[in-house]
Amino acid sequence: MTRKLLTGNGAAAWGARLANVDYVPAFPITPQTEIIETIAAWSDAGEIPARMVTLESEHSMITAAGAAAATGVRVFTATSSQGLLYGMEMVYTVAGWRVPLVMVNVSRGVAAPLTLESDHNDIMAARDSGFLQIHCSTCQEVLDSVLIAYRLAEDKNVRLPVIVNLDGFYLSYTREPVEIPEPEAIRKFLPAFDTKNSKFRASTPTSQAVAVLGGSPYSYFRYETHLAAMQAIDVYGDIAKTFSQQFGRNYPAIEAYRCEDAEIVYVMIGSFSTKAREAVDQLRQTGTAVGLVRPRLLRPFPTKELQKVTAGKQGIAVIDQNISMGKGGVLHTEVASALYGKSNAPKILTSFIGGLGGRDISAEEFYEMVKVTKQAINDGVTPEPRLLYTRDEYREMQKLQAIAHVEREELETTQ
């Protein structure tokens, strides 16, 4: 085992390397490029046996990835944002093929307006596809999650593709100390790809991914995909346990940090959750009983685990780095649906939407979210969802609009 400084992208590439992947269809997109550049360099130098092919689009890339997995090799691929959306037809499609592969998504906000910086709307768009989703908060977790993801995808009771998600910039370009396990140890954890379930061979004619006529067979295949995803909760739990026993790093489906005696918990995913963790530590020092609930697994959604860790709390503050136009935060909706009507569920569920397009969420804002949630508990009234946006930001925005010759008079006169 070596410990070295790696970016999130570097950690993702190491995950693929240690998983001994056979095939890497690729297409470059910021901020994912470093992953495929790293793998290309290893491949060119003969350090890894994987075959890499650059396709002409993400749509083709995901098609090739699924097709290769359907033929019977271990496949790794990676994308981000617009690329994920461009390939979205195939994200849904290859999940329906029931082929195991791992795709890393480096989260980045989606257009319009176009941005290079991070939020979770891209990955949320893939939420209902049948791809399972693991969300990372550190570079170490990225490497480890890629390895866990292969075992999960290839489990005979699951056999679904998995997305490992990391935040652009905040993880992708940020170096942190990462332990790189020995290949020998990985071989014990992740056996060679078993082609038993997916293959095209001359001796065994197979028609994969065929159409259906009528709602009944369609419903059957779709429900079965859902059931496989649901199976993945327990399967994931077992894999995480094995991983923990072997490597000493613990990745439960839901990370619960200082939750036991907490009155209020933050719920959030991704790299900014370490900031929430910091806020928990700081608030605890001032006597406020706060905890952090971080779903690592977003699909399947660990409903029971969430119910358990939040049972008896007074309030939950959900922080969404995404926005569903016309509804609000996606994670907030997920949490609400998991807890509604449960006798032990917290009465107050506040919703905060922030960190869109790479906007920071400051320590002050984390403290303030707890304050707002506390107030709501005292009042017994859940406030409206809150967009994390300050008067200064709005003022700056108005300056930009002045440069863009946006006519504001109309608004001012009608108010």
Binding site: Y173, T274, E278, Q282, L411
Partner: protein, 310 residues
């Protein structure tokens, strides 16, 4: 936790500087986070990178807004607001400037009370975008100011991060780093670890509800032509092209046509005129001017001359 920010221009090796310092901390068994701030990473344009280091796991993320040490590789960036060099500076911050002017001059100029140290520019170069080894010198100085990094680990970190450059360049970078390390000996340990903002002393964020504004206002549309002239890309310039009108043949179609930035216009006397607010200093005009009527002057020098004549 230590929080260090490096500011420089694209081409001056700020990403490498943060990586070297990050690796040096790592070799001292610190938990580390280092990252470049990507954006318009263009030669000559302002760029920054940052390093966090702590004995315990680091939970903070993103851009450092409360730096303990700000390292400025190129002092010409300090007065440029867009470069954000002074963002989050307090009296507890240490400001390390690679430049000619002394510390007091900067304190007066910037009206600041923090500790200011000068890393003397060892050799003046014509093109500041190619300031040699400035990144390594900055790291060497920073390492000593922080005081928890040994010279041995500094050298190893430089080696680790630029191993692909070849023996000569590695040696020169190491020399620069260790010289700067020596130079800051009397300030060893000047930079102290700071704590995080606590819930007791934090400033309440002034959240607002953004008002609804209809699409004529709130769509990402620019309702005017050529608003980009408000972006002063002249700040990127490290070399300045200056037209010697005695030699200029008024063949303005050459320099004015080939300037990629439309920064050379022609006046009523058919003379080419350079728009220094926007000229990025690429020097294509210098290279292509047949009568050699455009000279190259280091931007720093040109600005000093301007100040004197003003």
């Amino acid at each position: 936790m230590y929080r260090i920010r490096f500011h420089g221009r694209g081409g001056q090796g700020m990403k490498t500087a943060s990586r070297i310092l990050g690796t040096a901390f790592f070799l001292e068994c610190f938990e580390v986070q280092d990252a470049p701030r990507y954006g318009a990473e263009r030669r000559g344009a302002p760029i920054f990178s940052y390093v966090r280091a702590s004995r315990s796991p680091i939970n903070e993320r993103g851009v450092i807004t409360n730096p303990d040490l700000i390292v400025v590789a190129d002092d010409s960036l300090i007065p440029i607001p867009a470069a954000g060099v002074l963002q989050g500076i307090t009296d507890n911050t240490t400001l390390l400037i690679n430049g000619h002017d002394d510390a007091n001059t900067w304190k007066h100029r910037l009206n600041i009370n923090c500790k200011v140290l000068i890393l003397p520019v060892t050799e003046e170069v014509e093109d500041r975008a190619e300031l040699p080894f400035v990144g390594s010198a900055c790291v060497g100085a920073a390492a000593r100011l922080i005081g928890v990094i040994t010279e041995e680990n500094l050298v190893e970190a430089v080696n680790d991060e630029i191993s692909s450059l070849g023996a000569d360049l590695i040696k020169q970078n190491i020399d620069q780093a260790t010289q700067a390390f020596e130079l800051m000996a009397k300030h060893e340990g000047l930079v102290k670890e700071s704590t995080s903002k606590t819930p007791l002393d934090y400033e309440q964020p002034e959240w607002i509800n953004i008002p609804f504004e209809n699409a004529s206002i709130s769509a990402p549309t620019i309702h005017a032509a050529a608003t980009s002239v408000e972006v002063r890309t002249g700040l990127w310039r490290t070399l300045r092209p200056v037209i010697n009108y005695d030699r200029c043949k008024n063949c303005w179609w050459v320099c004015s046509t080939i300037c990629p930035d439309s920064a050379i216009s022609v006046n009523e006397k058919s003379e080419p005129v350079i728009d220094y607010d926007h000229c990025k200093g690429c020097m294509i005009c210098v290279a292509r001017c047949a009568p050699h009527a455009i000279e190259t002057i280091p931007e720093q020098l040109a600005q000093e001359k301007e100040k004197q004549t003003a």
